[in-house]
C-alpha cells in the first residue's frame, strides 16, 4: 500500500479553504457550526430577556420590537437546526470520523466533499446577508407556514424571507452532496475485513441519518421552489385565495421536518454508543439489535409527520393514523435506550467528562421522549399545541442532541482532532454548569405551557387572555437560568482554545479505545494511515480479562490476540 508523499507546505488559502482532506473539511464544518451556535445562542439570550423583562433595554441589543422578536425566534430555530446541529453532528463528525473509523485515507470523492462545504458556506453567507436587508431577517417562524411566509405584507420581511428560503435550499444541497459521499465511502471504501457488522455504530448512524435526509428532503426542496415562486413571481401554490393549498406546504415541510429530528438524533445516539462502550469497558449490549431498531426508527420516521398538524384542519381520520404511528416510533427508540443502559450494567464505569455527557444525554433525552407522547396523541395535542409545552418538549430532545451529545463527542475526540487533552476539571465544571441550568430553563416552561402560555408571543401583557402575571416568575426563572447556562459556555470556549496549546499531550489512544481512528497518531497525518489497516473483529472488544490491556483494537489479528493478554 502506498503512503502519501509529503507535499510542499501549501499556502494558507490552499490549506484551510481549498483543502480536500476530510479532516480539514470536518474542521471547517465544526468551526462554522460553532460560530453559528454563538449567533443562535445570542438570539436566544435577546428574546429570553424580552420575555423575562418585557419591553426593557436588553444589554448588547437594545429594545426588542415585535417585528424583531419574530425575526429573533425564527433565526434562532433555523440556525440551531440547519446551521448548528446539521453541520456539527453530521458533517463535522461524519467527515472526521468516517474515513478514520472505516480505515481509508479520505472520502471516496474528496472534491465533492469540498464542494459540499463551499455550498454550505455560501448558504451561511446568504443567511447572514439577510440580516442586512431592508426589513431584516425572515420573521415568519422556522416552519415558514404560508400564507404568512409567502406574502411580504404579512410577514413584513419580504427580502429576508426569500434569502432565508434560498439559504435553506443551498444548505440542503450541501448536505445532499455530503451525505451521498458519506454513504458511498462507507459502502465502498471500508478497510479489508470490515464486514457490515464490524462498522462502528456512530458510522452506521451518521450514514443512516444521511440516507433519511436524502429521502425526506426532496419534497421540501420542491416545496421551497414553489414557495419561492409564491414569494417572488406571484404564483399561488400555497395561497388559498388563488386556488392553492397552505396545508400542502405544511405536509411537505413536516414530511422532511419530522425525519429531520431523527437525522440529528441518530448521529448523537451513535456518539453516545461509542462513548459508553469505551468508558464502561463493555461491548455494546446487542449491537445488531441497536442496528435493527435504528432501521425501524428510520422507516417509521417517514410515517409520523402529520402529528405536527393536528390542529391545522387535517382529515381527522388521518390524525388517528398519525397518532398511532407516532406512539409506535417510541418503541424502537425506547429499546435503543434500554440497550444502552444494559451496556452500562455491570461495566466498569469511568466518569470522565465524555462519559458524563453521554449519561447526561440518555437521562435528558428520555424526558424529551416521554413528553413527546402527550404531543403525539392528537387529543392532548389539541390542548398543548403551540404552547410552551411544545417548546420545552423539543428542547428536551434537541438540546441533548445538538448540545449535550456534541459536547460528548467533542470532549471524546478532541485528543484525536488536536493531539492534546482537554482540562478535566474545567470539563466537569462545564458539564454541571450546562446540564443543571438546562433543566432550570425548561422545566418552568412545561408549567407555563400547560397553563396556556402560547409560543411566539412578543409580550404577554399585550394580550388580556394571555397575560397571566402569576406566571411571570417562571418566565423569569427560565431567562435567568439561560444566562447562567450561556455564561458557563465561556468555560468550554476557554478550555477548548487553552488546551490547544497547553493541554496534556494525548498520544495515539488516551481512552484505550478499540476503533480504528485511535490506531493512528493524534492528530492524524495526511492520508491517515501509514499502512492501510485490515480489520479482524468488531468495534467493541472491551472488558477482556488480562489487566491493563482489557481491549483489542479492530486491526489486531487473531494470533496477536493471545500475546496481548499474556
Amino acid at each position: 500500500m502506498s503512503t502519501h508523499v509529503e507535499h510542499a507546505e501549501p499556502g494558507i488559502f490552499r490549506k484551510y479553504f481549498w483543502s480536500t482532506d476530510h479532516k480539514m473539511i470536518a474542521m471547517q464544518y465544526l468551526f462554522t457550526g460553532m460560530a453559528m451556535a454563538l449567533i443562535g445562542g445570542y438570539f436566544a439570550y435577546v428574546f429570553r430577556m424580552q420575555l423575562g423583562f418585557p419591553n426593557q433595554y436588553v444589554p448588547g441589543y437594545g429594545i426588542v420590537t415585535p417585528g424583531r422578536y419574530n425575526a429573533l425566534v425564527t433565526m434562532h430555530g433555523s440556525i440551531m437546526i440547519f446551521w448548528v446541529a446539521m453541520p456539527v453532528l453530521i458533517a463535522a463528525f461524519g467527515n472526521f470520523l468516517i474515513p478514520l473509523m472505516v480505515g481509508c485515507d479520505d472520502m471516496a470523492f474528496p472534491r465533492i466533499n469540498r464542494l459540499s462545504y463551499q455550498i454550505f458556506l455560501l448558504s451561511v453567507l446568504v443567511l447572514l446577508s439577510s440580516f442586512l436587508v431592508k426589513g431584516g431577517p425572515f420573521g415568519g417562524a422556522w416552519t415558514a407556514y404560508p400564507p404568512l411566509s409567502a406574502v411580504g405584507s404579512y410577514n413584513l420581511t419580504p427580502a429576508g424571507a426569500t434569502l432565508w428560503l434560498v439559504a435553506v435550499a443551498l444548505e440542503f444541497v450541501a448536505f445532499l452532496l455530503g451525505g451521498i459521499n458519506f454513504t458511498v465511502t462507507t459502502m465502498n471504501s471500508r478497510a479489508p475485513g470490515m464486514k457490515m457488522y464490524d462498522i462502528p455504530l456512530v458510522i452506521w448512524m451518521i450514514v443512516l441519518a444521511s440516507i433519511i435526509f436524502m429521502c425526506s428532503a426532496g419534497p421540501l426542496i420542491a416545496g421551497a421552489v414553489m414557495l419561492l415562486f409564491d414569494q417572488t413571481m406571484s404564483t399561488g401554490f400555497f395561497d388559498p385565495t388563488r386556488g392553492g393549498d397552505p396545508l400542502l406546504w405544511q405536509h411537505l415541510f413536516w414530511f422532511f421536518g419530522h425525519p429531520e429530528v431523527y437525522v440529528v438524533l441518530l448521529p448523537a445516539m451513535g456518539i453516545v454508543a461509542e462513548i459508553i462502550a469505551v468508558f464502561a469497558r463493555k461491548k455494546i449490549f446487542g449491537y445488531k439489535t441497536v442496528l435493527y431498531t435504528t432501521w425501524a426508527v428510520g422507516f417509521l420516521s417517514f410515517v409520523v409527520w402529520a402529528h405536527h398538524q393536528f390542529v391545522a384542519g387535517i382529515d381527522p381520520r388521518m390524525a388517528n393514523i398519525f397518532s398511532i404511528t407516532t406512539l409506535l416510533i417510541s418503541v424502537p427508540i425506547t429499546e435503543m435506550v434500554f440497550l444502552y443502559i444494559a451496556t452500562l450494567y455491570g461495566g466498569s464505569i469511568h466518569l470522565d467528562t465524555p462519559m458524563l455527557w453521554a449519561l447526561g444525554f440518555i437521562a435528558e433525552f428520555m424526558v424529551g421522549g416521554v413528553t413527546g407522547i402527550f404531543l403525539g396523541s392528537s387529543g392532548t395535542d389539541i390542548y398543548l399545541h403551540d404552547t410552551y409545552f411544545v417548546i420545552a418538549h423539543f428542547h428536551y430532545t434537541f438540546v441533548p442532541i445538538a448540545i449535550i451529545a456534541v459536547y460528548g463527542g467533542l470532549t471524546f475526540w478532541y485528543p484525536k482532532m488536536f493531539g492534546r487533552m482537554l482540562n478535566e476539571t474545567l470539563g466537569k465544571i462545564h458539564f454541571w454548569g450546562t446540564v443543571i441550568p438546562f433543566n432550570v430553563i425548561f422545566i418552568p416552561l412545561f408549567i407555563t405551557g400547560t397553563a396556556g402560555d402560547q409560543r411566539r408571543v412578543y409580550s404577554y401583557a399585550l394580550f388580556a387572555e394571555q397575560s397571566r402575571p402569576a406566571l411571570q416568575h417562571l418566565r423569569l426563572t427560565s431567562t435567568i437560568a439561560l444566562l447562567v447556562m450561556l455564561s458557563f459556555q465561556l468555560i468550554f470556549i476557554f478550555n477548548f482554545f487553552w488546551s490547544l496549546r497547553n493541554g496534556k499531550s494525548a498520544g495515539a489512544n488516551p481512552w484505550r479505545s478499540a476503533t480504528l481512528e485511535w490506531t493512528v497518531p493524534s492528530p492524524p497525518p495526511h492520508g491517515n494511515f501509514a499502512v492501510m489497516p485490515t480489520v479482524y473483529r468488531g468495534p467493541y472488544e472491551y472488558g477482556l480479562p488480562g489487566g491493563a490491556d482489557d481491549y483489542v483494537p479492530q486491526n489486531v489479528p487473531d494470533q496477536a490476540f493471545g500475546d496481548q493478554n499474556s
Binding site: 474515513p99 485515507d105 454513504t183 471504501s189 436524502m214 426532496g218 399561488g236 401554490f237
Partner: protein, 193 residues
C-alpha cells in the same frame, strides 16, 4: 495539488459497484424524491381542480411530442456512448456524448420556442394553478437537462483523451433518468387533458 491524486478510498469497491456508479445511483435516488414530491403535489391539485383541464387544453402537444422524441434519441446516443466506452473507444464515446448534449440543446431550444408561444398567448407562471405547475415542473426538468449537458461536455473532453471512461456510463445513467422524468411529464402536461 493533492486533489488530482485520487485517494485509495475512491478505488475500493466493497459493494462490487464502482464508486462512480454507486454515487450516481444515490444521486438518482435523491432526485426521485425531489421530482416525486413536485409531481405528487401537481397530481393532487390536478385531480382536485377539474377546471384546470381548460388551461391544460392550451398546451402544445406537438412541442411536447417533439421534445420526447429528441430526448429518446439523445438517450440512445448516451447508451451508445456507454457501449463505446466499454470497448475502450474514448474518442467515439466522446463524439456520441457530444451528440447527446446536442440533443439536450435542441430540447431546450424547442422548450424556449414553445414557452415563447405560450407567453405570447398570455399564459405565464402566475396565470393560475395549472400554469404555475406547468412552468415549475418543466423548468426544474430543464435545469436538469442543462446541468446534464454541461457535465456531459466535461466528461466528453476527458473521454476524448481516453481518460475517466467510467464516467461515460454515469452521466448516461443520469441522462436516462432525466429522460424518464420527461416520459412522465409529457402525458401529465400534454396528453391527459
Amino acid at each position: 495539488m493533492s486533489a488530482s491524486a485520487k485517494p485509495i478510498a475512491n478505488a475500493r469497491s466493497g459493494t462490487g459497484i464502482p464508486s462512480a456508479r454507486l454515487i450516481t445511483w444515490w444521486v438518482i435516488a435523491s432526485e426521485i424524491v425531489i421530482f416525486g414530491g413536485l409531481l405528487a403535489s401537481y397530481i393532487m391539485h390536478r385531480v382536485a381542480h377539474p377546471e384546470w383541464a381548460e388551461s391544460a387544453s392550451h398546451t402544445l402537444t406537438w412541442a411536447g411530442a417533439l421534445n420526447t422524441f429528441i430526448l429518446l434519441t439523445s438517450s440512445l446516443c448516451a447508451v451508445l456512448a456507454h457501449q463505446a466506452a466499454d470497448s475502450h473507444d474514448g474518442p467515439k464515446a466522446a463524439k456520441l456524448l457530444r451528440l447527446t448534449a446536442l440533443g439536450g440543446l435542441i430540447f431546450l431550444c424547442v422548450k424556449g420556442y414553445e414557452w415563447t408561444l405560450d407567453i405570447r398567448e398570455g399564459f405565464v407562471l402566475s396565470s393560475g394553478g395549472f400554469w404555475s405547475f406547468y412552468y415549475t415542473l418543466a423548468g426544474l426538468h430543464g435545469l436538469h437537462v442543462l446541468a446534464g449537458m454541461i457535465i456531459m461536455l466535461i466528461v466528453a473532453a476527458d473521454a476524448a483523451k481516453n481518460e475517466e471512461l467510467q464516467r461515460v456510463e454515469c452521466i448516461g445513467l443520469y441522462w436516462h433518468f432525466v429522460d424518464i422524468v420527461w416520459i412522465f411529464l409529457f402525458p401529465l402536461l400534454y396528453i391527459a387533458k
